[in-house]
């Protein structure tokens, strides 16, 4: 399969892995920012293959995980109202809010549909004019252009029964939050390749300059990750933090300008609550006032999402790279993928969930 097989060749992976190990003289702490990278590092056994020489930590890069529980509760509450249907991506449905997940809400009769694209929700609105269709829009900059496009289509088609419940988040402010934390140990970043496909990576120049850490835009296949780590390590070993792009086959310096224009047309940057992390300055997007008629929070008079604190869960330290998931006292006992407590456990892309699935026995205990 093109674009996959060439990045999973065992011989090449082994060779590059050996080169990477040779290049390392001290145990650097490197954070991958995207949940997809975390998943791939564990799934392909790369973290285990490097754990004696590198410390890999996993940032807050799962947009499903960091969606505030209150936003999920709001979506479920909307879906219970008469003549309202909530549509969302499949993996959002399993994530628990404070009052259960959307799947559970659906089992109780709430009207919730899985769609594969926000445009499907627009079509649903067109075909069911007597129903209010709310698309629950989550995700990083990767999914933002699609929800922006859906809104613009709905407006063009004069659909008065389509709206967006938005919980979009932005990657770079979260990386800033990691570096600004007093506890941070992160010395280098693998930046999220898919997000950079949309945003480009030029905006990371100031990040690298400000925090003096290397940032390598990196893909998701085993070879991508090894090569991304190699560039990051080289930069650290030379003591010259720099910005580089390992994922050239997908990411250009300026990114997808058309997608960026769509994003900017529909959304404005706001401070946003991240589940398990707290409020991040510039960490989210809100629908611009000129499109407020398509904002479900306005249409249905919902309160803004907040994030309330929790005692035992150490998910914030996990997402800051301060501790590894198994160091949290709840990990694997009170907090499992089936009954998650912390944000990184709620979706399969979260760091805690990935650790749970790949590093311990997951058999049923009878």
């Amino acid at each position: 399969m093109k674009f996959i097989d060439e990045y999973r060749q065992p011989a090449l992976i082994q060779r590059n892995l050996a080169e990477l190990r040779q290049a390392i003289t001290q145990r650097w702490v490197i954070m991958d920012v995207c949940g997809g990278q975390t998943h791939s590092l564990l799934r392909h056994g790369l973290e285990a293959a490097l754990e004696d020489v590198l410390e890999l930590v996993h940032g807050p890069g799962c947009p499903v995980c960091v969606t505030p529980a209150e936003a999920i509760d709001a979506a479920a509450e909307l879906a219970r109202r008469p003549n309202v249907i909530v549509a969302s991506f499949g993996d959002m449905l399993r994530v628990p809010g404070q009052r259960g997940s959307l799947l559970q809400a659906r089992a109780e009769g709430a009207k919730i549909r899985i769609v594969y694209s926000p445009m499907d929700a627009v079509e649903l609105a067109a075909s069911q004019p007597d129903q209010q269709i709310v698309f629950f829009g989550v995700g990083f900059e990767t999914t933002v252009p699609a929800t922006a496009l859906a809104l613009l289509h709905a407006r063009q088609r004069r659909l008065t029964n389509f709206s967006l419940l938005v919980s979009h988040v932005r990657v770079e402010p979260a990386m800033r939050a990691v570096m600004q934390s007093a506890e941070t140990r992160v010395q280098g970043f693998l930046a999220a390749g898919h997000v950079c496909t949309v945003t480009g990576y030029e905006h990371y120049h100031s990040f690298v300059a400000k925090f003096s850490v290397p940032v390598v835009v990196t893909g998701f296949e085993p070879l991508d990750l090894i090569n991304g780590l190699f560039e990051c390590v080289q930069s650290l070993e030379k003591g010259q933090p720099r910005l580089s792009n390992q994922y050239e086959r997908s990411v250009s310096p300026t990114g997808n300008l058309r997608a960026q224009r769509l994003m900017e047309q529909v959304y404005e940057i706001v401070d946003a609550p991240w589940r398990g992390f707290g409020r991040i300055a510039g960490g989210g997007l809100a629908i611009r006032p000129e499109f407020r008629e398509f904002d479900a929070r306005v249409r249905f008079q919902l309160a803004d999402a907040v994030c309330s604190p929790d005692g035992d869960c150490r998910s914030k330290e996990v997402m800051l790279g301060v501790i590894k998931p198994p160091e949290c006292p709840l990990f694997g006992n009170r907090c499992t993928p089936e009954t998650p407590v912390g944000a990184p456990m709620v979706s399969s892309e979260g760091a805690c969930s990935a650790y749970y699935r790949y590093s311990r026995s997951n058999e049923v205990t009878s």
Binding site: H44, R106, G139, Q180, F277, G278, K316, R357, R360, V364
Partner: protein
């Protein structure tokens, strides 16, 4: 904390842990972890008996010194017709296969239909024709049945239940409890075809070529193995929950681990593309004419020879082996040659957002 951008009063969100939710969700019917939990926690304690406790695809009953194999299955599928099959063909072959993997020659089926008011006669006839053709090809007779018509909305078009009775050919496979270290795991053909086909048909995903279901009768190669005296130690058809669910169960029953090699797993290109694009693992996708067997190392060669003589198992492949217990029940050797724990989904495979 020097940080000014994080609101430190809002460190994290609480998620009250409700371990027991009030209502059942779809995940409990998907054949994976939640289904096993449901069976263990709610069914076995109530109905426990030595036959049920086996949790096989079918029950082996001793009636007047004859050994009868009995099974039942209900079928719901949306859409009713999909590339490679339909609910009727599925309802016959699914039950036939449960008997066949239990070592039986399928003989008789019951057929119960729950039909939604308003279903087109043309649709119903098409399904019944398909049942007729499948039953004829599998040499089973439909000997009893029931029909209910329920108000619109009470079922989705048509639900079918078939129960099946077969006669044990020689002996039943010893079963997964008796698996030994170094026993070899064989998949009878490319995996995940049915699950991929249904997903595409249900969600209108336009892949080209479109994945086709493997819906088929697997009796012939299994009977041939028995008659040749190379009976496997354990056989299962890899329906809901996919190959992963079976390996999970076998590892638990035998208190060993199943270790498989990713590169050996037979996979059609279109299924692989779909899985890579949607972030699914083919090991979790359903099959309807593909089985897994475990056999002693010295029987691998004759077993493969026989499997390859039958169309339904002509692409049978060794995928791994039984080993002493590892850190987890099922391990996959991935790209760089390391054993990695096989991820198990909670509930239905849902496509990921990014």
């Amino acid at each position: 904390m020097k940080n000014v951008e994080i609101d430190v009063t809002a460190l994290s969100c609480p998620i009250p842990v409700e371990t027991e939710h009030q209502r059942i969700t779809l995940g409990y019917g998907e054949g994976g972890y939640l289904t096993r939990k449901f069976i263990r926690e709610r069914l076995l304690p109530r109905f426990d008996n030595p036959t049920l406790r086996q949790l096989g695809d079918a029950a082996i009953l001793n009636i007047d010194s004859r050994r009868i194999v009995f099974t039942t299955d209900c079928y719901t599928v949306t859409p009713l017709f999909f590339p490679g099959g339909d609910i009727g063909k599925l309802a016959v072959f699914g039950t036939v296969n449960d008997l066949a993997v239990s070592g039986a020659i399928p003989r008789w089926l019951s057929l119960s239909l729950v039909i939604e008011e308003g279903l087109a006669w043309k649709t119903l006839d098409r399904v019944l024709d398909s049942i007729q053709a499948a039953a004829a090809s599998a040499c089973v007779m439909i000997v009893t049945g029931d029909t209910k018509v329920v108000p619109r909305g009470a079922v989705d078009q048509l639900f079918i239940t078939t129960s099946g009775i077969g006669e044990l050919e020689a002996t039943a496979p010893p079963g997964p409890e008796l698996l030994r270290d170094d026993d070899v795991l064989i998949a009878s053909g490319p995996i995940g075809c049915h699950g991929a086909s249904i997903l595409c048909a249900r969600e209108h995903l336009e892949f080209d070529p479109i994945p086709t279901s493997d819906c088929a009768d697997v009796t012939a190669p299994l009977v041939a193995l028995q008659r040749a005296g190379v009976a496997p130690r354990a056989i299962r058809d890899a329906t809901r929950g996919g190959i992963a669910a079976i390996l999970q169960e076998w590892a638990e029953s035998s208190r060993r681990s199943c270790v498989i090699e990713e590169t050996l797993i037979p996979l059609n290109a279109e299924v692989r593309s779909l899985c890579e694009l949607l972030g699914l693992d083919p090991l979790h996708l359903a099959n309807e004419g593909t089985f897994v067997l475990a056999t002693a190392p010295q029987l691998v060669e004759p077993t493969m020879k026989i499997l390859h003589q039958h169309a339904v198992s002509s692409r049978a492949t060794v995928i791994g082996k039984i080993t002493p217990r590892r850190v987890a029940p099922v391990m996959v050797v991935r790209g760089i040659g390391r054993e990695v724990v096989l991820d198990e989904p909670i509930g239905a495979p849902l496509p990921r957002i990014c």
